[in-house]
Symmetry: C2
Subunit: 362 residues, 2 copies
């Protein structure tokens, strides 16, 4: 193994001291270095293939040029890997590295591991992309504020939490999608939401109802997916088809679908050709459409992650990639010492690309 090259070695080779090497390589402002010295240092560094030791640098400078990303959910979920892609791109372009963190409790320090890693001084800031509106808990929040940790919380729907936030405009996008569907459907819009009650689902329902209020001559029916169907990775992956081998559980399926059918089919009996089905989650579309395969219906989705082409006729496309970029930008601003900011991103309403419908063979 080659001996590590240090700033000292570069200094010797250039006939200067380590101080000067540091000044040159870091372009320290307000330091006047003669052009010749600068050249000698740069050449020596190149010749020796000098790479500064980041541990020493962090120790002294108190920054690691690395940020942590907290993901509770599985990376195989398109929502998260699309976001991560946007985050990664933005951070790298700004000289930051990216570390993956879980959100598990650490026993040692009592803090969740993303805070532990921060307190260790391994990362300079935190991007919190958790799941379904769960902000950091009270203890974690206190730690963030006390230590002025650069922190961005995504999709947590909080008021003035003391750190930056990025949220999505669920109400408005639900309104737009529902409005479009109502304007096109015969008479009835059947909306299916999870029983699960959180801020985002409440806002969606509010948006749908606001749209329905504009069409007094039409009818809105709201159904709920049974609880066993929601919010678990397992269930989600069942329809999504993204199972790791270990997650496949075919034996669950029949009971599962039967339950949904028993619950929802009776509510769908009134649907006639030209009516519409709108579901909170894109993964439900196929199943719902299948339940009333006897009539042609318009379909819509409030949360489409671009999984495939067979989606609803109208859908709100989650701006995952852009949300990742936005989160990263706010974190960069926080790292630069700016005050917390909040952003709300809109979720664009799209129409299915019918030019590819032929791919779904009869």
């Amino acid at each position: 193994m080659r001996k590590r090259v240090t700033a000292r070695d570069v200094a010797e080779a250039a006939g200067v001291t380590a101080t000067t090497v540091s000044y040159v390589l870091n372009n320290v402002p307000n330091q006047t270095i003669s052009p010749e010295t600068r050249q000698r240092v740069l050449q020596a560094a190149k010749a020796l293939k000098y790479v500064p030791n980041v541990a020493a640098r962090s120790l002294r400078s108190r920054q690691s040029l690395c940020v942590g990303v907290v993901l509770k959910k599985n990376l195989t979920h398109p929502r998260f890997n699309q976001m991560l892609q946007g985050v990664q791109q933005t951070l790298n372009a700004n000289g930051y590295n990216l570390m993956l963190c879980g959100a598990h409790k650490k026993t040692e320090s009592g803090y969740p591991d993303y805070l532990h890693i921060y307190l260790e001084q391994r990362i300079d800031g935190i991007l919190f992309l958790a799941e379904e509106n769960h902000p950091p808990d009270a203890a974690a929040k206190q730690c963030i504020l006390e230590n002025h940790i650069p922190f961005v919380a995504f999709d947590c729907q909080e008021q003035a939490p003391g750190y930056s936030t990025v949220d999505l405009d669920y109400e408005e996008s639900a309104f737009t999608v529902a409005q479009t569907m109502l304007s096109r459907c015969r008479k009835t819009l059947f909306y299916v939401r999870p029983t699960l009650s959180n801020a985002q689902e409440s806002k969606r329902e509010a948006g749908v109802r606001r749209a329905a209020a504009q069409f007094p001559q039409k009818q809105l029916i709201v159904g709920k997916m049974p609880a066993s169907y929601q919010s678990t990775d397992e269930a989600d992956q069942l329809l999504r088809g993204f199972p790791n081998a270990s997650m496949q559980n075919p034996s669950l399926r029949p009971a599962f679908f039967k339950e949904v059918e028993t619950l929802l089919l009776p509510m769908m009996e009134c649907l006639e050709p030209g009516d519409a089905i709108l579901s909170s989650w894109a993964t439900w579309t196929r199943f719902l459409r299948w339940l009333r395969r006897d009539v042609p219906l318009i379909t819509g989705e409030l949360a489409n992650n671009g999984e495939d082409f067979s989606g609803g006729d109208i859908y709100a496309r989650m701006p995952n990639f852009q949300a990742g970029q936005c989160c990263a930008q706010l974190l960069l601003r926080a790292l630069a010492g700016n005050a917390p900011e909040s952003r709300v991103l809109s979720i664009p309403c799209m129409e299915r690309d019918r030019s590819l419908d032929w791919l779904f063979i009869p």
Copy 2:
């Protein structure tokens, strides 16, 4: 901002010295600490919420407890996010953190950034999950060997590269899938591979041909996808439906599909009911089946990532998650000082789960 708690503070609180704190907290072997002292230190550390500074620790101990994962391709590709999931799980379970690296050239040191990050001492080892059989280049390889970098290369199909490797058994799985299809089909198996010529595609074709040799009474036809269709994220995502907003390019499609049709349809004219189509990539199945939608055909795929339920009748399921785990394990072994190892993973042959076929509405 709270003042940072150091080992010194803990030492004072416990009435010992920082040395002892280090011994206790790290459970240093061959150090005899009296139980009472140990207790006092642990209590003080807990009371003060002491978290050791990882920069100082790395600087001294020369390890960061962090490894880098190199991904060239997009994280939104199921193959990579499934692998990453397996990697992450295994590494975290063993106390390592995970850093995402690109494979870009750095100008400063001249090394690709994953090596730069290693040389900075930011990571202790590297997991190289690149794309399509591209091993690290000669300069990088030399750097890896010279510095004895713990390194695992995935899917690079190299002989004795001097670091650990994990590869997939493309030949065998292609053989198995083709064999199954040949035994079931009427007379002709139409196999479509990329024109792209690399080790993995050669092995696949070899496997298919080996199977065909076992069925002298049947016929194998080999077609090639036009080059514009292959190996680019863009093209792949076109059919996959995983576009970032910026990647959608509907205007490309018509020309694209037309080209494929012109090239392949003539070769498929001989197919009759009961014959079979086998494609190297799962994303092609729909399109190929559509080209001969007039006859019922058996379909098969040599690389299915579990994208959806509408896949081929028979397919080789890429063991991405397990491959990620395997890579992580080999890296852990290398980090522990073991000699490089090589593994070849098999790609299991599966049948489509027909119990979900009803989801694809006529």
